[in-house]
Subunit: 366 residues, 4 copies
């Protein structure tokens, strides 16, 4: 079977295939009274849209979202919000030569082994095109957060592309929107452009690391033990196509720290507790501390490349394959708005969980 | 609120606090007809049990499991299995001096901020003692897997402690059970013993990386898009106390690979597809490939250490704290059987999901 | 919040409002390999479609279903199936005079009290129009059942309209499709036509009782304790608009029986156990016995009637109301295909639950 | 598989068998800060306890509840509450003669057909003994409701036993606790005592109808479309052993009403809307109106009786059976506190759902 729903109270069910008539998100559990229209969601979809520059797939999709339900006179009604995006540029002939072969590193072979059916048109349901629906749902989540808890900011950016990392000393929030990679480091953006252009021309691809930060989230969100804030963020990010690792705060490097170094010391600030550092990534025991929530994930290089690779056919014969379709040299770029969307969904979900259950019981400090 | 249930069809709800009368796991969805008795579960609990050597907390718990329901005449009945472990060594006086202070790096402060109630006795529900219930449930999951699909093997081991990594060239499955760290590298085990002893004596702690491998899992398990095998593994591991990062296969390093290097080439073997490598960690598109499933996670150093750290009290006053309780210099050691247990639960859960939904529709190759 | 998903493994999320652009069902968990096309679903929608005779609302909707995802080359792929029905005849001006008043017996007032938003256009989400999406999902469920377990038959029919009941001695399966009320009794059909015509002309409405029977369901389906087959059927039927009571087998009358009369005696037939009677309605302990599964539900009279009733406005003023819209004198008629659809969804869901968990462990008799 | 969890946010998982070492309820999602101790729960268990008078089974169980987790210093902590009841009087020899035979009207045969395992000791998991765990959970739910929304009252009572109904004109809330049947009609109580005594002596049993009313529940609770308040109540009551029908308000009789009669007219009272009648049973469109919430359910006669009935054995041979165990002549009596407990769980669950999602958006009237 498949499980296409994400979230506890803000539940997003995405549907649709790469080359079907449409795809979308059925969002159940959005609070009523959130001001929303299609343009507010379109804004976020446009950031992810393919074909915007030479660094992403040349498939051209309008990615125009329609709201089919759940909104009346400009605000959500508390009933399911259906967000639909029709597919327009589906050129399926591109894929006809790979109907019988499995692309190494792709889900072609495992979908076949699981379902016994192969939608060879652009990967069907396994295509990264599914993430458009996530971005649409994330756009709605952002507006709901804004209505319930103004002041939360969610930003994603790239911190590594292949072997190249950003320089944290040059970190500049304002730079993120200035370059096609959403890199918060102007020099890196310039260097990476050349690097990626070279890869693109040679038909090669490369991986990346994305960091998403939520600022302004209050202390107390998170549902221990199995719905911890970091548990849900790990699931959210790992569910994105091509993601192979997720880190919170110090992440894998926390293995190298001693207890003395790792423990963020606590002080009393004017508005509550403050911390000397944020190794925890804003989460302790699965619950937010009020610090920035910091999650990072690694996106593997897209496996659709122009070099010849060995593979087999559905009938079990060994063969070779080159993928000639329109693909991304660094699929990690378009993963940035997707990571932001998942963060928005998780934060909203836990905001709703927290409101419902605890209310005024929340522990005060000072 | 809290969410204490894990799994889709094999659903484990853990309950209990560090210093309450008992803790346990309510397991719903275990198939009927699985041969089981308390000893078979006790075996796995004994591996995790504290106080077994000088490298783990000196709290002495019998950790004796009782099966209160769901088993009749030596086999599961298909009804809920209640696994209870009574707490015996609860010395709560150790904690009396930290009733008012928050330990840096601990969940003390966030539980207070969320719930407005603080169970100061050993961390209450946030204590790593909760993981005993996971290990018990994992023991049951292992037996169910054995009954449904003999040949699956699940093994965890430590690959890094602080700055020290294992040498993959010396990897030896048989060495894992020979040392207190579950390290598959005899030389590393010897070196780490000295290193950890030094840390222990100085009241310091350190992080670690654990790798868990499931061998013999057939192709086809996993429930895209939001119940992918890697999504569920990421959630499972991130939900363990002190875990800050999770990797599948190549993990975070996949950011550095090119598409050519990353794509595991496919060949036809005598029993089906074979792969030239396993960068994917046995999972493509969220579905198992039939290769080894490889997950890694980082455990931060325990924050209960003997050095003085700055913190605040519940009333908001700045102060200092030293934690004098009985604690682990490397809590990662005891995370090994916990990681194995979570892998067992996830594999069984997806085995059940797959049986229910696909059956004979499974795609054949060759 | 709202909860718009039904089912454990075959999960149907309906969405859409009476007068929005479209409504539909997002179906997750349908097994792969089920032969399906839009016409097969349209068949069932056409049975429920309004405006087909003088006994149902004169709103004219094409109720044309489109499959937007989850089907490839004529069969389901195991991914979400999106079934969309566009609204065409939305004449919302009919409702403009009731924008401020609450209709007695309607959900107008409670939706307002819950959500603080009122979609006055035909009841918005609370309209019985939502049931079109259920019928579409039920059509898919029927095909999946057919693929997994041929021989199951699901039929609904009316057994009571106002004070008039069918005569069980005249029960004729073939008569059901011959009259506009789906009554299995030709004489009743003729009598009720006159009765209902009189009610219609006087602007009055009346309640009804619907019975739905599933034949050919094997023993063993049902998930005790809280997902019993009868529990899920009760929830399924009670969730239909205007339903106020649900019965299994003997139903409310079982209160009047003695133990001797109530217990269906068991005999051994050529294909397994047989029973002397079916007071149990085919379900014991929440699990199917292999007998006919019999569920009944009462539908209250539609509250949109032409007689003047006292009510209040949103601002709390007392007033009167007559509903002049296009409505059903006996909304129970159109509930017949809806009840069938819910039965199909529940049976399929439990078929999938049973396959997943028990398999060959099933107890044999004889 | 089995599904042993009930509820959306207040989630109750019951576990345990009739003759195992213990049974109980694992309650997840209880809000923190609810004052509770074992005695407060024991109070409700004592009402259901068997062996209290000659009209219920003579099995003697202390039914003493222990709180194993989730409570600290007299209040809930927000973590799972484990409520355990140890079995003490398990005399399993009573059942040895029915190991091979199936009792007509019992779940013996279907559990065998589903699971292939038969716990013949008192019905195992299918025993009504499971409802003790519900009553314990309901006791906790009552205290949580009291803490969140003082003024809610939940009362169950019997309205029919066999052919005998109460006289609504003699209805007296205070009488309910005065007789062993929880009948709100003193004359009926006296009459029924003789009637039931006769049945008991002849080894016969009889069915009953229970009504449960929740007073003081505010308008706005309920989660349309598939988590309606009446949907969840129908599921809750139908999941109780031996229940065959559930009604809300007018129930099955609403089939006989006309629209004019059925629609409860609305007036403006000092504290909000008031209604001329309550045919709706306090629920419109699945959402509470603020009137009394009225649910009724029919309990079939217990099938363990002293008259000889025809049946078959596990090996398929036809035979006869008399059940000689200690059983209830009217199991409906003990269903009264169980129905109350389920009402309490559903009301609390929807109170939590409503708080989380809507908050101040609630529509005001007047």
């Amino acid at each position: 079977m498949s499980l296409n729903t994400f979230g506890h109270l803000f539940r997003v069910t995405t549907w649709g295939e790469s080359h079907g008539p449409a795809l979308g998100a059925t969002v159940d559990g959005c609070p009523p009274g959130v001001p929303i229209d299609a343009n507010m969601i379109q804004h976020w979809l446009d950031r992810r849209k393919p074909g915007q520059n030479k660094y992403t797939t040349q498939r051209r999709e309008a990615d125009e979202v329609k709201i089919l339900s759940g909104v009346f006179e400009g605000q959500t009604t508390g009933t399911p919000v259906q967000l639909m995006i029709e597919n327009t540029d589906q050129r399926s002939k591109d894929y006809s030569d790979i109907m019988e072969k499995f692309r190494p590193g792709h889900a072609d072979i495992t979908y076949w082994q699981k379902y016994g059916i192969r939608d060879y048109r652009g990967g069907g349901r396994s295509s990264a095109r599914e993430t458009a629906a996530r971005v649409a749902a994330g756009g709605l989540a952002r507006e709901a957060i804004k209505a319930l808890l103004p002041g939360v900011q969610i930003n994603g950016y790239m911190t590594q592309m292949g072997p190249h990392q950003i320089d944290r000393d040059r970190f500049d929030w304002d730079e993120i929107e200035n370059n096609p990679f959403w890199v918060p480091d102007a020099k890196a953006a310039a260097d990476w452009a050349d690097y990626l252009d070279g890869l693109r021309k040679s038909g090669e691809s490369v991986g990346a690391i994305i960091e998403v930060v939520a600022r302004g989230v209050p202390a107390g969100l998170g549902a221990p033990i199995y719905g911890k804030l970091d548990t849900d963020l790990a699931a959210a990010m790992m569910s994105i196509n091509a993601v192979k690792g997720v880190e919170i705060g110090e992440g894998m490097s926390s293995a190298m720290l001693t207890g003395t170094l790792n423990a963020d010391e606590i002080f009393m600030g004017p508005n509550g507790p403050e911390y000397s550092s944020n190794h925890a990534g804003g989460i302790l025991g699965g619950i937010s501390t009020g610090q920035d929530i910091v999650v990072r994930f690694a996106v593997k290089p897209t496996s659709s490349i122009l070099s010849t690779r060995k593979t087999i056919t559905k009938s079990g014969e060994e063969t070779e394959i080159i993928t000639k379709g329109r693909h991304d040299p660094c699929v990690g770029i378009r993963a940035v708005p997707v990571g932001e969307a998942m963060m928005a969904c998780v934060v909203l979900d836990h905001l709703l969980l927290h409101r419902g259950q605890v209310g005024e019981n929340r522990g005060k400090i000072g």
